[in-house]
Symmetry: C2
Subunit: 680 residues, 2 copies
Amino acid sequence: MATIATLPDAADNPAIAAQEKILSLPLTEVRRMADAIRVLAIDAVEQAKSGHPGMPLGMADAATVLFSKFLKYDAADPRWADRDRFVLSAGHGSMLLYAWLHLSGHAGMAMDDLKRFRQLHSVAAGHPEYGEHPAIETTTGPLGQGLANAVGMALAERHLAARFGKSLVDHRTWVIAGDGCLMEGISHEAASLAGHFGLSKLCVLWDDNGICIDGEVSMTSSDDVLKRFQSYGWAVKRVDGHDPVAVEKALEGAVRSRKPTLIACRTIIGFAAPTKAGTAGSHGSPLGAKEADAAKQALGWNAAPFEVPEDIKANWEAAGRRSAGTRRSWLKRLANHPQKAEFERAMAGKLPEGWHEAAAAYRQRVAEEKPKAATRVSSQKALEVLVPAIPELVGGSADLTGSNNTNVRGIPVLSTANFGGRYVHWGIREHGMAAAMNGMAVHGGIIPYSGTFLAFADYMRPSIRLAALMRARAIHVLTHDSIGLGEDGPTHQPVETLASLRAIPNVAVFRPADAMETAECWELAVQRADGPSVLALSRQNLPALRQEAGENRSARGGYVLAEASGPRKATLIATGSEVQLAMAAREALEADGVPAAVVSLPCWELFALQDEGYRESVLGTAPRIGIEAAISFGWDRWLGADGVFIGMTGFGASAPAEDLFRHFGITAEAVVAAVRRKLA
Amino acid sequence: MATIATLPDAADNPAIAAQEKILSLPLTEVRRMADAIRVLAIDAVEQAKSGHPGMPLGMADAATVLFSKFLKYDAADPRWADRDRFVLSAGHGSMLLYAWLHLSGHAGMAMDDLKRFRQLHSVAAGHPEYGEHPAIETTTGPLGQGLANAVGMALAERHLAARFGKSLVDHRTWVIAGDGCLMEGISHEAASLAGHFGLSKLCVLWDDNGICIDGEVSMTSSDDVLKRFQSYGWAVKRVDGHDPVAVEKALEGAVRSRKPTLIACRTIIGFAAPTKAGTAGSHGSPLGAKEADAAKQALGWNAAPFEVPEDIKANWEAAGRRSAGTRRSWLKRLANHPQKAEFERAMAGKLPEGWHEAAAAYRQRVAEEKPKAATRVSSQKALEVLVPAIPELVGGSADLTGSNNTNVRGIPVLSTANFGGRYVHWGIREHGMAAAMNGMAVHGGIIPYSGTFLAFADYMRPSIRLAALMRARAIHVLTHDSIGLGEDGPTHQPVETLASLRAIPNVAVFRPADAMETAECWELAVQRADGPSVLALSRQNLPALRQEAGENRSARGGYVLAEASGPRKATLIATGSEVQLAMAAREALEADGVPAAVVSLPCWELFALQDEGYRESVLGTAPRIGIEAAISFGWDRWLGADGVFIGMTGFGASAPAEDLFRHFGITAEAVVAAVRRKLA
């Protein structure tokens, strides 16, 4: 099958010609192709008066070998599902990526775009931004994230190959990473995962230039990086990154390897810049006109700025078409493939037919059974319906499976023995998990979900932010969502975590109150194709508050769960486990002749999207009492200047949950008392 | 000197007796001491019906060797400055720590405290909480943090030894860590730092039990951990963790080592529990009465619950006094030491005399010079005054020195060649930096400060949270605090970061508007001994807005920077770089006959602490306009239901800063227009 996959279509002569041409280029021409990247990087950074020339200058040689002879892509269709993925983890070197996309003939990356590098509305943004250009596989810049995304992509490839077969899914993942990526902690989690899963189709080219921003890497690190990666089960190799033959040989080795491969490319940062090469000075600012000219002179480059000689352009365009035949063969295989429709649906991120009926039937069951259960357990019940109905759901937990309730009976574990499995034991690697999930989500074909404690969302936060920025569908199941977790104490008790997640644009934070809302929120999360979702779930049991199963009431973010029996004297607004307290308080108030309504607010972001009329009708004009076992930060928006908040004012404590709710004054009695004070 | 430091005071016979006794104990007695830890852990967890028996059962043998023969401490004075530090990084095994503290005779950890394990107000909280007991060196539970704290403690020891000499500072740092600690990314950053700094007095005992919560570690990790630590420059050793002789030999090796040492202690989790030992089932819940009894039987333990036979207690108490003579010798050396007062002042966290005069003189200079400068540059100017004036200030940057402006001319770099240096090149290790800083802060004698971009606060967040929980004085210099950083784009532009940090209890988030406020905020940060501070600083230049230098106006968190010329028609409330916009808008409004005041709000937390009268006088009753180049989350508190917010509504973009402020409508014109609409 492998030979079929890489054999060009014999009928497609231009493609064969491109492939033959590019594979037989003399070294001098390869070097000139690399120089084209270098010069465009210099020119664009000079023009922008801002940017990072050092990395493109240093890595152009190795990258040219990769882009022209190894990376499987067709510039005519950058979204070809079976393309190799290329991740520029050292995202500050974005001009390397943009120059390559331009030179290899990708639409949408014209010379004018390069001239507008780092300007408003340019696709050539300061760092590669997912969505700005179809060939940008992921957003990078925050160091180490791209590497970890790539591990997720490589894992996604293995899974989808198991699901759809190698004739449809058989591609590699290539990464260029810098010292920064490898010094970040996330690189440990990511590399360890890749080694554990034996992701042999993952290859990382490390720009081993010995320079960091503060000076020499040796000033801050004494790691033996190759030995370290060997300890994770990687194959490692060190080459002169400016020697295309050595790089080619190393990449061939990576293709043959049964392990993920790290290639240390010894390079000179700012290569060719006469005074700045080999120094931190070339890293993050323009070379300056004089140094730029001198660098071009050193390269023997005579063309005007933003001009590339035709022969070099022709070579690059041939590189961009090298796999065109491979793609056409693949398209033919797809056309005849029994799983064609399913594959295309999955890769497009569309949910399968029937899933919603299954979910609706489950909600009907919940309405009838009215289970008293922790929402983490209700989440598991929802997963028991959704995971079988939606084959793209692939998830797991960062070693808290039994606590997060993320597993589903009968769903096999994803492992080297069975890449088709759908349950992932992520290990104690929250950050690596979230970043790999981002990679899976942008790879396509997978809707990843995680599991950990809500308090540990902090460990994943840089990756959640990137999911939000990329609008990637990654779903985080975050249990033990308040002091309600009890004895583990303040380190494990989120108090500010809900606020801190609600603050991130594009993240939907769901905090359901009972089994019904949990089912509703899960439906909303899987349907939410344009951003990450968080499900904040209780450890402790909660009563069933909702009796009917028709409309997904959580879809509006907030709604009147129980209207007052007469003109409202108070509106009790709560989320999650505190909605039951609001209901109990309402009962006491009503019994005492104080008509009070209860508003459940499971998703602030969706509620904020409703029109003002709806929101005002829900929140009402009576005094508002907010109740959440968390700090008040952000609540003023819903409570107004006049509202009262019942919740936490600081960190929690270690004690049984009931004791804590009493100790911190988060009780129905406290709510009743607050209303009385307000009405007094 | 080393021999003097460890030689017991000859006049102190009981101490010598204790030392001799404990060092010559037969193995059977050592084992019974370990069993006392085991049994107390079993009993406390049973009593609490909650907790983690597996780790104490597994690590009791190795820990007993450490606590009785190596750890330098005196139960009579747990805050003795030159004690060895012990960090239970695997904080869930807290009963190991509490049992040891009780058995070794520490005051404040009575049997009654153990009986109240995990109950409200008990010092024996679910996880070890700094401040609950003087012998708890740091708060642990979130995995990997303790290990990284310990690196900071060991680095603090090296620095203070260089400053005060080995006769006052000569102690070791010991850690017990679990698989979770080592799988977390932070372990990479921390271990790499320790290796780079050659922290040979750091020793980590890894509870290598092969079990994680989801099952066997081999299910989720294939790392060769020892090889990995070797790659960082550590000495490594593997021993049977249940063999006290082997452990003792390994610890002796660690004491002799010129590198930090990792000792893999092969243990059986839940040791002695007949059915649960060696399984995840013993990790995180009570054994149950039957299994608990059987475990005690297997250990040959016949005492009633919470009872420890006198002979075992006597051995433990001897262990607790083993270094009493060493401490007395040290006290004598201290009494005669020329730096006694300075050492005591530094360790107590008191600022030196004269610092405030220097700071005040600097502010006077700022008032006269009225510099137009980025607040990151103003921060550097403040550091140029504070760092020489306060010897405890030891700081650096995560490889962004030139951008964060964290260095001070003439202050030497802290390195293996000069541990007395005070500038730390942390490398690209934000998380490790923040966690090590926590370790330095709780070690005492150092006020650590960091540097990175504000957007990357997310990488440090789990450690910032722990600093907040511990009320540790760690100061984070976070520059490039908005879209004002320009071309690097949305990955680097914080929009939600201010809100997310303001949400953490006990953190003071300072966002100064000019050089004067920057100086004021720095003073407040160094004075703030009971929690971490964040300084959010601009990349771009800002005008001098404050003309006078007397009172530290930032100390109240917010104040009227410019009062309206008549009865206020509007109050413009801003922070940091947007205060200048408010001032420009005010000028335009006043020129147009609309009296408007400008309120600068550099620190919300301090403003919230003011009495309501002050706050209302500052915020006024006129319509309020909030201006911050960030999202509005949290602003409603200051703006009221009726306010208007000018800021971001989502992520930023890549472009020159001025273009971005215009693009996102954060301009003086927009403020004026908002006021006009409001007044129309």
